[in-house]
């Protein structure tokens, strides 16, 4: 506990501990320090303390609970962990990075399951971080959800979120590894329908920046090229399908059987996803956003292959 000098001008009137933590700065000298205290229903309110190093008892007294000895107080650390404050133990607000506290009577047990294991918890509130810890999963690579029955989405509980275990329906938690993402190329539905219904075998590839659609073994005009079929790559630009794909690419490289050479404007290489593609420079000036898609592009490719000289 510290003595204060109210007449000292170096003290500001009120220091908001949560603001200081948010701004990543240390506490300024102040006449009052504002913390957040939650009750058993997790109703939070501000509490202004004269001492930046209060005891548990001082906080309980300031919160107005009686008799103090029947209550417990926990600091909620930024990580979501609870730290038990004993009544006569001091807690240095200036060092700990905690501005939230929760107060409750302790002699109750709350039952729930995590990953279908029965758990009991002696406090009515619990954080996402503690739930993960109880489940035995790493907190940084797993998410924990509260199951909501009868017509609501399951609720993601972040590490520092607090759940009130005394509410009805708080019964089952599940942890899930955070491992799955949406694929790079969420191809528009119209493209997928077109590819499906026209029997194209397709591979969607990406190098992290560009997304490509490979039409596998596309049939070529009969007798025209040195191969009967080739893989054809279309690279989707950012903004597709509002923005047009430009050129297309073939592998293996195609030569005209009649002339024994590459077709016009199709003699440059382009490396993509470890393959050396033959670049067909065929530009697209009439793209209609919202109308055109892979079906348009495939029509253009078929046309370009048929007309190649």
């Amino acid at each position: 506990m510290q003595t204060q000098n109210p007449g000292d001008d170096s003290h500001i009137p009120l220091e908001d501990v949560s603001a200081a933590i948010r701004e990543g700065r240390s506490l300024r000298l102040a006449h009052l320090y504002r913390i957040m205290v939650a009750d058993e229903q997790l109703n939070e309110r501000n509490l202004d303390l004269g001492d930046p190093v209060p005891t548990g008892r001082q906080i309980l007294q300031a919160a107005g609970v009686r008799p103090v000895a029947d209550y417990s107080i926990y600091a909620i650390l930024p990580s979501g962990e609870f730290e038990d404050l004993r009544l006569d133990e001091t807690y240095d607000l200036r060092e700990r990075g905690a501005e939230r506290f929760v107060i409750f009577q302790t002699d109750r047990a709350f039952k729930f399951t995590i990953d279908d294991r029965q758990m009991e918890w002696g406090k009515p509130s619990i954080s996402g971080k503690i739930l993960k810890t109880l489940a035995g999963v790493p907190t940084d690579t797993y998410d924990v959800y509260l199951e909501v029955r009868g017509g609501g989405q399951d609720v993601l509980i972040r590490d520092a979120d607090l759940i009130d275990l005394s509410k009805p329906g708080i019964e089952r938690f599940i942890t899930l590894i955070r491992d799955t993402t949406e694929g790079l190329a969420a191809l528009p539905e119209a493209d997928l329908r077109y590819l499906d219904s026209h029997g194209f075998a397709v591979e969607v590839v990406g190098d992290g920046t560009h997304t490509g659609v490979v039409l596998k073994q596309m049939q070529l005009p009969q007798g025209k090229f040195n191969h009967p079929a080739a893989d054809v790559l279309v690279i989707l630009p950012p903004g597709y399908p509002d923005v047009a794909p430009d050129m297309f690419f073939c592998d293996p490289w195609l030569t005209l059987v009649s002339a024994g050479r590459y077709p016009t404007c199709a003699d440059q290489p382009h490396a993509f996803m470890g393959r050396n593609w033959q670049r067909w420079s065929r530009h697209n000036t009439n793209w209609r956003p919202g109308v055109d898609g892979l079906h348009t592009m495939i029509k253009r490719i078929e046309h370009a292959l048929a007309e190649a000289k």
Binding site: Q153, I174, I177, A185
Partner: protein
């Protein structure tokens, strides 16, 4: 039956459940669609890429990542967008009409 007759081809069929399976192992070939109170919440399957880890796809439209699952008359699911595993076997695939389409990303 239809599959045995060669009339219906699929890698996954939808099975509707009311609750998330938790750590329950999902048999290969099944996609468990968690629907409770009319709300589509999750699509769960075992990873077909070889590692077998349980994949839970969030169907909550308010969150990312999120997916949509439709099913046809034969209970064959179509999931969009694609599913990309970042850690275990790192596979990337689509499910269209119950079939897996592999993507080489």
């Amino acid at each position: 039956m239809l599959r045995r007759l060669g009339l219906l081809d699929f890698n996954f069929l939808v099975k509707r459940v009311a609750r998330h399976p938790g750590k329950t192992e999902i048999p290969a070939g099944e996609l468990w669609l968690v629907i409770d109170g009319g709300v589509k919440k999750w699509a769960c399957l075992s990873c077909p890429g070889g590692c077998g880890v349980q994949i839970s796809l969030s169907l909550n439209p308010e969150r990312r990542p999120r997916w949509e699952v439709d099913q046809d008359f034969w209970q064959r699911p179509t999931v969009s967008p694609s599913i990309h595993q970042q850690k275990m076997c790192r596979c990337h695939f689509w499910i269209r009409k119950g079939m897996i389409l592999w993507s080489k990303t």
